[in-house]
Amino acid sequence: MSDSAEITAAPPAPLLELRGISKQFPGVKALDDVSFAVYPGEVHMLLGENGAGKSSLMKILCGAYSADAGEVYYKGEKVDVSSTAEARKLGIAVIFQEFSLVPFLDIAQNIFLGREPKGRWPGIIDRRRILRDAKRVLDSIGFEIDPSVVVDTLGVAQQQMVEIAKAISQDARILVMDEPTAALSDREADLLFALIGRLKADGVAIVYISHRMAEVFAIGDRITVLRDGRRIDQLRPADVTPDHLVRMMVGRNVDMSYPRHFAERPGEVVLQVKGLSAATGISDIDIEVRRGEIVGLCGLVGSGRTEVARAIFGADPVSEGEIIFDGKPIAGEPDVAARRGIALIPESRKSEGLALLRSVGDNLVVAALNKLFPRRLYDPSDAQRTADGLIRQLRIATPSARQAVGLLSGGNQQKVVIGKWLAAGAKLFIFDEPTRGIDVGAKSEIFALIDRLVAEGAAALMISSEQIEICHVCDRAYVMRDGRIAGHLTRSELTEENIVRLGMHDE
């Protein structure tokens, strides 16, 4: 665990130092006694899995969140960073993944938003000066572009450069970047690294969040690893190997065992995806799911997992490749997929999977109406019988089928979504983060349910960021990276470390 006694071992004095920062959100401790220091002219890499606390730490740095406990020191003096304005005064600038740019203003207006040079009359902007000042800032970071170009017409990489220009123009001494290369090509990333080099030489301190191992070793001067809201270690790239870093990020989690009866030998192929590409950013996806299997689909958030699920379900158009379901090709809209027997159980079940104000019974039968009532006449007692049967079968904890779904717990809501597709006769269940927002006890019930589904002849494709769950529940798994399948892991290869290694950018 973290050792808070060894904070200052390096040269001069830290430019900014956080000591013992804690931050609690309802139900989760986002940061637990984290200490962290950045020195002028260094690139400090911040590493951790999704949910390790990187974003929370960043938001505290820039004053968007205030910490529940802990202190912030700027050049050795205790300061209070309780608002973004104060953070800015200290020279802290953050470049978020979602840019803080206004699409229909030009580059110059964006760089100086809120700090426009005054013109001759009050409120009037000195147009010539704002363009000149913007040009100077853009030149200083080596970005050659006309500052009167509207931001909406720029590509992602160029918008990133505008963000950096904006930060530099505020005399930022501490620059925080959240996965800045996520949307950049290699060439653009090289330009960014060159710029980072120049900023370092100017004594700017850079906090750099990354998921790419190669970057960590290419530009990092120091590494802090976070896990579950705690600082696991702080070290130098020379003292560590990528494998070691991965192990630190994953940690040794408590043993969790979920009930799972692995099939001796899986049944016939239910879903076969061949060379699937879509405009949503996935390409060349090959996936096979057999009856009786739970197949994992993992990778970092944004690696294209959800996009694959949506393409299979027909929710996004496919540009290339083939999806064969139950022996026959499938293409078209979600209603086609649903009729053929594919169920997509979305991550945001509240907005996409359930009608929260309607009753448990209504929600359970809604996808099965055509099957239950082929003559298109609704029979309430029939519907009630079907709903009651499912409530018993899935052990949904509800006073009656008439209860509004919104009043149930997360785990029971999830069961209603599953039951809905079960009633419709689904043969393939695609789960997107099935345990998000569900407490530990309910999780194992959900997994028991999925296990029963596949034991009875269904097949499941499960997207999850919880690698440990994938490892415990899945027969095998595909790991995605940058919209492609980076690798396939069989049951015996299925470990958290292997998943992380495949999912990271280690070139």
Binding site: L113, G114, I125
Partner: protein
């Protein structure tokens, strides 16, 4: 290269915004079928009649840029028009009438802004509620009757000329110039783009989106007050339903003019062209003696046509 030369003119037309094409088509249509449409007197008449709509549609553009809407504008205009009539009748002063109208209009605008920014009521609902309140107040203060016998000083504004140009046209042009400067050359205008485009960016820049939003709606109310003077002058009376439904024309003009209802993309000149398209359409249909019910329906069609043309253009 020779290809480019050949398709050049087509490209140029394609690059024209839908609203400009629509306006040209409408002028061509009515120039052909409506007798007297192209006469100088009639064209001046179109401009004069468009002034009130310009005064509503310009602030409406700003409001829509913030991803909002103001449904109360027509009803507030009616109320301010009555204020002009009643106050100028009582005091014999046009300026006091205008002052009262601007005050009442601005108060309604502030109320709209407060409801939207602070009370977080969706703009559609908030301004629908104030529409009802303004309409009710109009009926109360006028007792459901027209207010007649107002001073000449009010009426004369509509017919007066300055250097041979009708005063309403000058007021419309002045309004455009002021809004143009406000939106494109001031800090405030810059922040209006950000209100719809990226409100977080304003917050990170240490600005208060709520106060800016209130100001945008207040400007809308204020302009409804100024337009109230013209409305009373035009009718030579205050009438309790005079401006009802004008918000429809104003929103239509903004939509036709190519302002986007999301992400803060607005175009003031497009709004003016949209207002003129609506004005030309109503005037032309009048000349060929179609009833006003047809006019309302055709404004609806106009919106769809302009959207369709813009859609074609963005796909091309």
């Amino acid at each position: 290269m020779s290809d480019a030369v050949v398709i050049g003119p087509i490209r140029a037309v394609r690059r024209l915004p839908g609203v400009a094409i629509v306006l040209v088509l409408l002028i061509g249509l009515f120039g052909t079928i409506a007798p007297g449409f192209l006469s100088a007197a009639n064209l001046a008449n179109v401009l004069v009649q468009s002034t009130i709509l310009i005064m509503l549609a310009l602030p409406m553009t700003l409001i829509i840029m913030t991803e909002g809407i103001d449904l109360s504008m027509g009803a507030v205009l009616t109320l301010t028009s009555l204020c002009v009539a009643i106050v100028s009748l009582a005091t014999k002063s046009m300026l006091l009438g205008l002052g009262a109208a601007v005050l009442v209009g601005t108060l309604f605008g502030l109320a709209n802004g407060w409801l939207v920014a602070i009370a977080k009521i969706p703009p559609f609902v908030a301004t629908l509620a104030t529409l009802g309140m303004a309409h009710g107040l109009s009926l109360i203060v006028s007792d459901g009757q027209s207010v007649v016998g107002i001073p000449h000083s009010v009426r004369d504004i509509y017919s007066a000329q300055l250097l041979g140009v009708p005063v309403p046209i000058l007021m419309g042009v002045a309004s455009y110039c002021i809004f143009h400067a406000l939106l494109y050359h001031t800090r405030f205008g810059t922040y209006v783009f950000a209100l719809g485009g990226n409100r977080e960016a304003l917050r990170y820049a240490g600005l208060s989106p709520n106060r800016l939003l209130i100001a945008v709606y207040a400007i809308g109310g204020m302009m409804a007050g100024v337009a109230g003077l013209l409305m009373t002058a035009r009718m030579n009376s205050g009438h309790p339903t005079a401006g009802l439904g004008l918000e429809f024309d104003a929103i239509a003009a903004v939509a036709v003019g190519g302002t986007s209802f999301e992400r803060g993309n607005g175009w003031l000149l497009g709004t003016v062209l949209g207002v003129l398209a609506v004005g030309v359409l109503r005037n032309g249909l009048n000349l060929v003696s179609l009833p006003s019910s047809v006019q309302v329906a055709s404004v609806g069609l106009l919106v769809i046509l302009a959207m369709f043309l813009d859609g074609l253009r963005s796909r091309a």
